[in-house]
């Protein structure tokens, strides 16, 4: 065995010397392989692929220095605009049906002589939470997912990766991180799993730790609703166009923060040089509408909705119980929120919002429903059948433009949901990195909201 090791070391040093003489071996090897593949293909492939030339022409525009970025942001804005403006009507319709059914349920409970607390837990807690989740989440998802899947199937997403690659390189991260980020738009847990495509453990960890900075579809409804509230209540001349613009800006901000945090990590905890990779741009393909709809509706929309429903039901019940058990004059929720109020204030938020985010740890989808339940248990009962009603409820509870803005930012930046954290734990096999994955975003969220709140107040804007 020792002989083997000595031989091995000798060979290693010999290889080292040869490697030093040769320079960039890997690059040369890859180049030689590609060249031979090209030569062989040239000999056996007959017929000209006209489509390829067309792809090339499209790519020259789509990935160009001038048009690449504006096109990307415009497409992003267009997707959000279609989502927001398209979701309004069905949202209202579904809400009308579901909340109408709530009245029927209430009658049924009364007729059966059920105790008030049972009606409270099941109807006002569980059912109302569910109804909100379904009516607010389903329409945007049913529009957003097919659109996103369309861009994915079309082959546009790798072009986005191509455009952003150099920025990630500069941040000390891997270009493939863009693809994992795009997955994160669907679901951060899925984005974390997608990080497997990154070779170097260092860059993979950066991608895992920063994936949460793109809003998953659990947070999109929150962002969209808050953007509509913000634009409607505090900026004159509301329209869905402005609201979608705001969401697009928020997403771009998420990407910028991803880059900044990646850069910080690669300079501190995860030092190293970014590795190179060859990104192949696949051919454009016109997506098949049928399979696109089936996949985005079944695999994504219904899957995510089911998850939200499963989590929202118990969370709604628990929140109702917490809101209706009184110790002295105050409910448990009142106590908890009061206790968090000071901290919330510092961030331009309030105690209820912080509490809603904490109670929303199982899934981001239920943060707003919990928040509404908290507010409504305070006495301000409202029929919540539209964004407009939500806006009135929030303003009644002391919201300003700063609250709405920081709610958006906190939602974008705060800790990942429990599913994502469990996935990180599974993928990294490390409690330490999982904790960091929760602490880093939370730290960023607290810092950003704190700064904005303090500056706004110092300038007398609120």
């Amino acid at each position: 065995m020792n002989n083997g090791e000595i031989d091995f070391n000798q060979i290693m040093s010999k290889a080292q010397i040869l490697r030093n003489q040769l320079g960039a071996v890997r690059d040369q090897v890859v180049k030689d392989i590609y060249q031979q593949a090209q030569e062989i293909a040239g000999k056996v492939v007959r017929g000209q692929n006209l489509k390829r030339d067309l792809d090339q022409k499209i790519d020259n525009v789509v990935t160009s220095k001038i048009f690449g970025f504006p096109l990307m942001i415009a497409l992003l804005g267009l997707v959000f605009w279609l989502t927001i403006s398209g979701a309004n009507v069905p949202s209202e319709m579904i809400a009308n049906v579901l909340f109408g059914f709530q009245d029927k349920l209430t009658e049924l409970f009364r007729w059966a002589g059920a105790p008030a607390w049972l009606h409270g837990v099941l109807v006002l807690g569980m059912y109302r939470g569910l109804a909100w989740v379904v009516s607010v989440m389903l329409p945007p998802m049913a529009i957003f997912f097919p659109l996103f899947t369309f861009l994915e199937d079309l082959g546009y997403l790798p072009r986005v990766a191509f455009n952003l690659d150099k920025f990630f390189k500069k941040a000390g991260a891997h270009g493939k991180q863009v693809l994992t980020m795009c997955m994160g738009f669907g679901c951060n847990a899925a984005g974390i799993i997608a990080c497997r495509i990154i070779e170097s453990p260092r860059e993979r960890m950066i991608a895992i730790l920063t994936n949460n900075f793109v809003p998953c579809n659990g947070r999109f409804p929150t962002l969209i609703a808050m953007a509509a509230v913000f634009m409607g209540a505090f900026v004159s001349g509301y329209n869905s166009f402005a609201a979608s613009g705001l969401v697009a800006v928020v997403v771009v901000l998420g990407v910028l923060i991803t880059l900044s945090v990646s850069w910080l990590l690669s300079k501190t905890l995860l030092k190293g040089i970014p590795s190179t990779f060859t990104l192949e741009l696949p051919p454009y393909r016109i997506p098949k509408v049928g399979s696109l709809l089936i996949r985005s509706v079944l695999d994504r929309t219904l899957f995510v909705l089911m998850r939200a429903v499963v989590v929202a039901a118990p969370a709604g019940a628990i929140t109702w119980i917490l809101a209706n058990i009184h110790i002295g004059d105050l409910s448990i929720i009142g106590y908890l929120a009061g206790w968090l109020q000071g901290f919330g204030q510092l961030l331009g938020l309030d105690g209820f919002i912080i509490l809603a985010f904490l109670l929303g740890l199982p899934a981001n989808e239920i943060v707003v429903p919990i928040l509404m339940m908290c507010y409504m248990s305070q006495g301000a009962m409202l029929e919540l059948d539209s964004i407009d009603a939500l806006r009135r409820l929030l303003i009644n509870n002391g919201w300003t433009w700063l609250t709405a803005l920081n709610m958006i930012l906190f939602s974008l930046l705060h800790f990942p949901c429990a599913t994502t954290l469990l996935t990180i734990r599974k993928e990294t096999q490390s409690v330490k990195w999982t904790l960091l994955a929760a602490l880093i975003p939370t730290g960023v969220a607290v810092l950003v909201c704190f700064l904005i709140a303090q500056i706004a107040r110092a300038l007398g804007l609120v």
């Binding site: 065995m1 040769l22 040369q28």
Partner: protein, 266 residues
């Protein structure tokens, strides 16, 4: 340096599981290929419903394996993760590489997409470097035809020196031919001499200077040219892994590349 047991125990655990499967395999075949080449369709087409999936031990990668019978032989097919290359180190690529290298498959089938054969050939060439027992399945021939692309498969066979089977896996076209080719290579042990990749002169020189030493070190049981390449590339882990396997597998069958087959390269 020798402590890379996590990797080797991973593949050993998997191979053990493979051996303990209810059907005794007469041959184990690895199925490799780029993503989106219809690899899974080929896998499903060959194995039907006789499939199991399991996690690659020690790695977060799901592997599927399945069985089929052809000419009274039981063939076990292992579906490797889709990869563009064997050169990098993502978990997927490592699993594919390790299995081809240490799993001692009786043949490795690479599935390629006929509509962009050039891109897929990169992987084919790299697999051919690791193992001589490579079979190329050119899938999606029909889609290529629709795009006005024709592939001269017999010409490709001559150039590469390995069996090349055109197929439309979705319509089960070419799968019998593929089974026949697998039978020839894995059961009848028909020798294959793939035409090697030639690198530029300075790299070839460096390989020549290392190859004999590496061959002695690895007792001729691994492809010494390929191992020398990895060393030049600065990837010592592969060699330590190989040495590890040499010790561990002393009583077992010789691994992927036998001395006789290695001579094809000379």
């Amino acid at each position: 340096m020798m402590g890379l047991t996590a990797q080797s125990s991973g593949i050993h655990a998997f191979l053990e599981e493979l051996n303990q499967s209810s059907v005794k395999a007469d041959a184990i075949i690895a199925l490799a290929g780029n993503p989106n080449t219809g690899k899974s369709t080929v896998f499903n087409g060959l194995t039907g419903l006789n499939q199991h999936t399991g996690n690659w031990p020690g790695k977060t990668v799901i592997l599927a394996r399945g069985n089929y019978q052809h000419r009274n032989k039981n063939i076990t097919l292992v579906d490797l993760p889709g990869t563009y290359s064997l050169l990098a180190n993502s978990a997927d690529e490592q699993v594919a590489r390790d299995f081809i290298c240490f799993g001692n498959p009786d043949a490795t089938v690479v599935v390629a997409d006929a509509t962009c054969i050039e891109r897929n050939l990169n992987l084919v060439l790299q697999v051919m470097e690791v193992t001589t027992k490579t079979i190329l399945c050119v899938n999606l021939i029909d889609e290529a035809k629709r795009k006005n692309i024709a592939i001269d498969c017999s010409g490709l066979e001559k150039i590469l020196g390995i069996p090349v089977i055109p197929a439309v896996a979705r319509d089960k076209v070419g799968l019998t031919e593929l089974k026949d080719a697998i039978h020839k290579v894995a059961i009848e042990k028909k020798p294959i001499c793939p035409h090697p990749l030639i690198y530029n002169e300075s790299i070839e020189n460096a390989i020549n200077q290392l190859q004999n030493d590496v061959e002695t070190l690895l007792q001729g049981k691994f492809n010494s040219r390929w191992a020398a390449m990895r060393l030049l590339d600065g990837d010592a882990t592969m060699i330590t892994e190989m040495l590890h396997h040499l010790k561990k597998d002393q009583r077992q069958e010789p691994l992927a590349i036998r001395r006789g087959e290695a001579h094809c390269y000379e």
